[in-house]
Amino acid sequence: MSIGFPLLVREILQSSPAVGPTVLIGFIDAFSFWFVIGGAMLPTSIASYSIVGEKVEKSLEPLLATPSTDGEILLGKVLAALVPTMLAIWAGAIVYMVLIDRFTAAALGYLYYPNLTIVAQVFVLAPLVAIVAIEASVAVSARVQDVRSAQQLSGLIFLPLILLYVGAEVQAFPLNTTNSLLLAGALVLTALALFAISRRVFDREEILTRWK
């Protein structure tokens, strides 16, 4: 994504040198939104494995026998998926920005990055989307009894983001500053609600006694 999209932009510029700045920026912004979608895609495999994986590997019982509370265990699971995800997204975004600037500086006449859009995408929307996706995956992981079900269900989590992406591209929900702030607010509320739900569905007794 970080290298492929800039190479695609270079191809477009090389094959259609007359492409205008508005079209070019449209491409660049459309591609950069994938860092937000990545926030939902990257952590789900780790997060969906988090509880059910420990149960399958029989390592959950010793963990539950420590003084860690349910909230601490869930927070740990969220951070374990969030930290590598964000590091990967931030590293990828830096590579993306450097390459885009290199390939488009001549056509645009200025360096497009860094700008407020990608800062908002990478430092606000992507972490919030990742937290929501991780919390939903952890909640799913605490309810299903096998890793495959957890991963399949967690895979559904990024579908709303694809709809949002399509909505933004067809201008049904353009990701301007106002809409981005609305989206961020909705994500914060969703994250808080999901954490509360995760704590309720994380039932130690059911996990230990009913899961096979």
Partner: protein, 310 residues
């Protein structure tokens, strides 16, 4: 150190543990015996606050079960070896132990010191950096015991520590439990290895949903099995049986081929009476010796007959 009063656990309509009342003293190794499904693991899970109780009360290491804050404190004072060791296989023995030390809120220097002490005791120090996945079952079991001990708990719960181990590995684990016993650790040991319980435990309780009996192995053997004398004769006849009952009164006599196993109250006096009774009835006495019961005899008698030994 452990006090349970009327502890009961029901899963729907099934009663897993029924009205368990039990005390385990500090420094005691207490063995919990019972067949599969008797409620041993459920009891350990209740006493370690992993699952709730349906009724009754319990206090472990000074913490009352049922209060969430007390239960968090309790989990810092106990160590648990579950039936499945559940180690992080890709991590080394040292990493597994350090992780659990951190979860217990220990200082790094204390974690390092305890890991070295435990792994040296278990003869795993040289292998501390190898992934656990490369270890044998016995070695993994030892690492899991070390994990339960890394924070110096006041009470150690061991759930079937030698299950599924080969005899050599089981012996290593058993020897380690004996080492812990020398350190005066309070240990609650779930097992269905009766010889293990007999060798290791100060007292045992036999559970089959209800607690059937509690006592030291010696006490149980005497109380449940009673004293018995084996008499081997050339041929068992009604005359011999009648003669013994005439002299000793009505009592339990088990006949197996040419052997008689006779319940006695005062072996020194009554063994002479038995010999005299056999000779008087025309029998030839070939052997007369006390029968020593094993804990297994006591266990099988209680579990199969379902009686109470108390």
């Amino acid at each position: 150190m452990i006090h349970a009063e009327g502890l009961t656990k029901q899963f729907g309509s099934i009663t897993a543990v029924d009205n368990l009342t039990l005390d385990v003293e500090e420094g005691e190794v207490f063995g919990f015996l019972g067949p599969n499904g008797a409620g041993k693991t459920t009891t350990v899970r209740m006493l370690t606050s992993l699952i709730s109780r349906t009724s009754g009360s319990a206090e472990v290491a000074g913490c009352v079960l049922g209060d969430p804050a007390e239960e968090v404190r309790l989990r810092g004072r106990i160590g648990l070896l579950p039936e499945n060791v559940g180690l992080y296989e890709a991590q080394s023995a040292g990493e597994n132990l350090a992780y659990f030390g951190r979860l217990q809120g220990m200082e790094p220097s204390r974690i390092a010191a305890n890991i070295e002490r435990l792994l040296r005791m278990l003869e795993l120090w040289e292998k501390r950096d190898l992934p656990v996945a490369t270890f044998s079952k016995g070695m993994k079991q030892k690492v899991a015991i070390a994990r339960a001990l890394v924070h110096d708990p006041q009470v150690l719960f061991l759930d079937e520590p030698t299950a599924n181990l080969d005899p050599a590995a089981a012996k290593t684990v058993r020897d380690f439990i004996l080492e812990l016993k020398k350190e005066r650790r309070t240990i609650f040991l779930n097992t269905h290895h009766l010889d293990e319980a007999e060798r290791v435990c100060d007292r045992v309780g036999i559970l089959r949903t209800r607690l059937l009996t509690v006592g030291s192995p010696t006490e149980l053997k005497s109380r449940i099995w009673g004293r018995r004398t084996l008499a081997r004769v050339d041929r068992v006849t009604e005359a011999i049986l009648g003669s013994i009952r005439t002299r000793l009164g009505d009592r339990r006599i088990d006949v197996d081929g040419d052997r008689l196993v006779i319940a006695v109250d005062e072996p020194d006096r009554q063994n002479r009476e038995i010999a005299a009774a056999i000779v008087a009835a025309g029998g030839k006495l070939r052997e007369l010796s006390p029968v020593s019961a094993s804990l297994e005899d006591v266990y099988l008698k209680l579990v199969h007959e379902g009686g109470s030994g108390s």
